[in-house]
């Protein structure tokens, strides 16, 4: 038997350095860690509320430190990146066909952005920002 197929191994780690599109993908995925971290922070805040006014006041105090502000800026940036890349993918996952035509990608992604804006405004109104 003269056959001897040769399989070029894919590096198990660092594979995403092989191509820019893999790096872009990893960037999209890695940003979710920060969203997760922020979720944990919110949970901690809720726990503090449950522990009483003093604990909550201390928590709010801690949020005002420069480190905390820097963290929030970072999280805001990354979660915006995550959301935007995700919204731009939604037309692919949720194609909508009307008759013989598919709704243009921009409309589907745009609907997500619009919902994002409305929800953000609603939260801000509830929080008394205006």
């Amino acid at each position: 038997m003269s056959r001897k197929p040769y399989l070029r191994e894919v590096p198990k780690f660092r594979w995403f350095f092989r191509h820019p599109r893999y790096l872009r993908y990893m960037a999209r995925e890695v940003t979710c860690i920060f969203i997760g971290a922020y979720t944990v922070l919110v949970l901690v805040g809720i726990m503090r509320v449950a522990e009483g006014p003093a604990a909550y006041a201390a928590f709010l105090q801690a949020l005002q430190t420069p480190a905390s502000i820097a963290f929030h800026v970072l999280v805001l940036g990354f979660s915006a990146y995550h959301s935007i890349t995700w919204f731009n993918l939604t037309p692919r996952a949720l194609p909508i066909q009307i008759g013989e035509r598919f709704v243009p990608d921009g409309v589907i992604a745009g609907a997500h952005y619009a919902a994002w804006l409305v929800l953000t405004l609603a939260v801000l109104i509830l929080a008394g920002a205006f």
């Binding site: 040769y6 070029r8 599109r21 893999y22 993918l89 996952a93 194609p95 035509r101 598919f102």
Partner: protein, 247 residues
Amino acid sequence: MSERQVELEVLRYNPETDSEPRFQRYSVSCREEWVVLDALNHVKETVDPTLSYRWSCHMAVCGSCGMMINGEPKLACKSFLRDHPGVIRVEPLAHFPIERDLVTVIDDFMAKLARVKPYLIPKQAKSVEEGEYLQTPAELKRYKQYTLCINCMLCYAACPEYGLIPKFIGPAAISMAHRYNQDSRDGGRAARQEEIAAGEGVWDCSFTGACSEVCPEHVDPASALQQVKIKSTVDWYKEHLMPWLKK
């Protein structure tokens, strides 16, 4: 008619004489409007008849000549020399075992394609004498895009998941299952779900989207896979939270 000296760096591997693949450089005079396949044919005819690769139609429908061209999965018959000004590096499709030179072993793909039952399982049986099934242009449009797959396997070479998890059924095969699921004449979705909604199916896909970026026929397999995921999720909720809906 302008000619250009083209430098090709081709990955060579002959299992009978080589222990591992190596690059071989060819310098050939090519016409500017040629595609990489023309350059390879020119090498084979005039420089090195031992170079092996697959090709046939030269019009991007037979799907034979998928290769890595400067690191990108491409059809050699549709990769123009004018788009590659420098040295052109040609390798066999990534993620597939190399049989010889640019020829890969594609048994795995062939088996996976067969696994997903890529044929019409009629919703309602009909004899030929009763004529065709009616299908409106809108119903045709619903799946038409996914029929355009030429089985060139560029998507498998681009898919990082397939590289890491060889058991993954992969973009083209799952898209083909989705094509039949979307067909108004078909009633075989349940049978296909057993393959594509399982562990080696869509859930191995992390939506890198590379498959759709490299697809020469704009099939958009990534879209097909996400749609299968969403529908499978809906199935799961219906089954577990609304069992009374089950027939």
